[in-house]
Symmetry: C2
Subunit: 213 residues, 2 copies
DNA sequence: GTCTATACTGGGATAGAC
DNA sequence: GTCTATCCCAGTATAGAC
């Protein structure tokens, strides 16, 4: 998963490994940005999580914004790469859409920072960095599956973009507003595997049935 | 709507009207909290919008948190009062649910601060103030309509709470993440009446069809 | 490459005059 | 009831030693 360029075998056991430090900063930053967004995150907190000093952050990423961009690129790479797979546009559109949605839900459940960052990006930064990283193309992929499904008579007639946004909303709201809705399940952990599976099934059913002819 | 206690008829025309000042602060604060949430809002900005000084905010609301609570109570009062209307639980459940959803969408469109505050509450405050103000009961109302619809055989069998969350998500995501998705419509204003109406129809159709037997 | 120390700024909150 | 002035903490960013 590393760049592979840095394969020094004799690297000393001491804490002077640039790639490792960078990676640790990115991990900590993702967590912080997930909690406060770009504006709310504290560089001091990121440094403390990482175990280095604030100065290191500026040494490697130049600014808070630079770090934020690096985090965004790294953590939405999965979504973006997945969405550019041409096989989404072959075979049964209903099956493909369900696959895309389930993958999306699985990623959100596995890393709850992602949904938070999505919401914060819109609220704090007007989606500026998102556009830069190429997230909008994810919606394009979904819309294209919908278009093909309509042409093939699998889906009813909808506005592909509006529908895509509503679909993503039905999936992601549970995660990014989990702190608001957790009160509905006093005795359960909202991110437990069982609860996540239940949300997945409910959301997928609502969406797929909502689209069928 | 005022307390009624303060009914001085001979109040001078000069700018020394407590109720008016309070109301102006609340208006400005709602806007600011909509843009930055509790943590991100700046009291200085609220004061400037209002045309008074920061000191006034503390004079009337004691603290930033106090102001925030007052804003929340005022601006979600509509949702909460509406949801406690017993007539939601009479007549055709499908019709009632659609009515509730359309009302919810209309309110969100009319005051886009609401969806933003909803999201910020979850992200920044873990829904703490929301619970205080009684927002969770809104979901209870929706869940109850769903339950009755299932009993009557109008809706298919779903988990009423999970479904409610997905429904709200499908409705509200368009608004609170409008800055992320605006790029999908390069030439249109996402909050224009036409676009809002289109979202409404798509969301309502997706949800209602998704629930029907 | 990593640290300590510090310059600089912004923002919440309060004291006290009017 | 409203203002000005100010305290003080927190947070970004940098300089410079090691």
């Amino acid at each position: 998963m590393g760049s592979g360029i840095h394969m020094k075998v004799k690297s000393p056991t001491q804490s002077r490994d640039a790639e490792l430090t960078k990676a640790k900063i990115l991990d900590a930053a993702e967590e912080e940005f997930g909690q406060g967004g770009l504006a709310g995150a504290r560089t001091e907190a990121i440094a403390q999580r990482t175990g280095v000093t604030k100065a290191m952050i500026y040494y490697y990423f130049e600014s808070k914004e630079g770090l934020y961009e690096a985090v965004l690129e790294r953590c939405f790479q999965g979504h973006i790469q997945a969405s550019s797979d041409p096989t989404w546009h072959e075979g049964d559109p209903a099956e493909k859409l369900e696959g895309l949605i389930r993958q999306f839900l699985a990623r959100s459940a596995q890393n709850p920072n992602l949904p938070n960052i999505v919401a914060y990006e819109a609220l704090q930064n007007q989606g500026k960095y998102f556009k830069q990283v190429g997230v909008p193309q994810y919606y394009e992929t979904m819309a294209r599956i919908l278009e093909r499904g309509m042409q093939m008579g699998v889906f009813r007639q909808v506005d592909a973009y509006h529908a895509s946004v509503s679909i993503v909303g039905a999936c992601v709201f549970y995660f990014c507003c989990r702190e608001n809705v957790k009160f509905l399940w006093a005795d359960k952990d909202i991110m437990s595997p069982e609860m996540v599976a239940a949300h997945m099934d409910e959301a997928v059913n609502l969406i797929m049935r909502g689209l069928m002819i």
